[in-house]
Symmetry: C2
Subunit: 237 residues, 2 copies
Amino acid sequence: MSETDASDRGLQIGFVLFPNLLNLDFAGPWDVLANLPGATLHVVAKDLAPIVSSSGLSILPTITFANCPQLDLICVPGGAGHLDAMEDEAMLDFLRQQEPGCRFLTSVCTGALVLAAAGLLEGYEATTHWNSHDRLAAYGAIPKQGRVVVDRNRITGGGVTAGIDFGLTMLAALQGEAFARQVQLGIEYTPEPPFPGAGSPETAEPAILEAARAKSAGYRAKMAEVDARAVARLKVG
Amino acid sequence: MSETDASDRGLQIGFVLFPNLLNLDFAGPWDVLANLPGATLHVVAKDLAPIVSSSGLSILPTITFANCPQLDLICVPGGAGHLDAMEDEAMLDFLRQQEPGCRFLTSVCTGALVLAAAGLLEGYEATTHWNSHDRLAAYGAIPKQGRVVVDRNRITGGGVTAGIDFGLTMLAALQGEAFARQVQLGIEYTPEPPFPGAGSPETAEPAILEAARAKSAGYRAKMAEVDARAVARLKVG
């Protein structure tokens, strides 16, 4: 598709969903980016069956991998289901096929690990949910702390609610800061977390952080297994 | 249903959806409250047809007004569709019928106006999206600024992203502060709005605020019409 066509058709934005995703990872940036004039937003999935989030919400995809046009911006959200997505060849193939023609390849939360498993973060600075940050390096990504990390056309957001900061950052890049400020006002994004400091491992109470780590031990073990297989596949491939 | 039954069955939480809602209004508190042990979360709507949000997302309801059990917590989100919801007798009847047995009657964003149109905020302090705050008084509500306003069992959140602060506040009330802190860490809620101050009318750049007001003039006019009818109906009823 020529540049002119791309301009005529408006920006094509695809959020790539998979079962057991964390809905808020994508709901934040979706409602921010939906404000972009002329953009078309797609809920992309393997098939059109409802996607059930980790919290039990059912969302209807709008287009399949097979029928999806070339996207200008891809965003992969995270959540527990990212582990299966990392081993889903249809998912990885879709991302690899889209990459060369895509202006922005992005993720929120553990969606970064899906990009990584597709081999698409090698040599790029990236961030992800704090509990998965130490997994990025094995894929050749350069782990960087940050609510939103921008490295050329790879833009990665931190955990879950970082998707809102990510969305506004993307919006400013695409439509200018004044427009992004308007949208920030529209969504009344003047957050007051009820427990200041509780949202980050650096500033959370040590007992709370330890409890979170203990609670996720089984999940971390599964992550390690998936990572070992995914990294091995990348090296073979 | 006796107290014992209520305890046995776990907390029943219902998000009441309607067409053209603002998805993020409910996606935030949903993913926060979904962490409550033993709770059941319902997507309640008039029928089971997919609900299409203002940003084009389709969400599947899980239960109809007719089949919904007594809820312990009702949350009404907002968005442009709240105006039609305010004149939907099935919606208003559902809220009125649920109210006497409901522990918490809550809203996010302009969902407060739906509660108000049902006559359920009279004499209660409440908040809503900044662009609708001046509408509350006509319904006998006591407008109060705040990200989350608690008055007895009416808990109202401000605009859109305030739903996350609302959800964490509710979670702390229901399951304790330590639990809410764990969830805040889990969703990495340590927000860094890219444009500090841009999210509130008090601190936004005057030109941006004026543009937002100008852009919403038609919407404000429609709000005024709906409010006039809804208030008249309440006085007659």
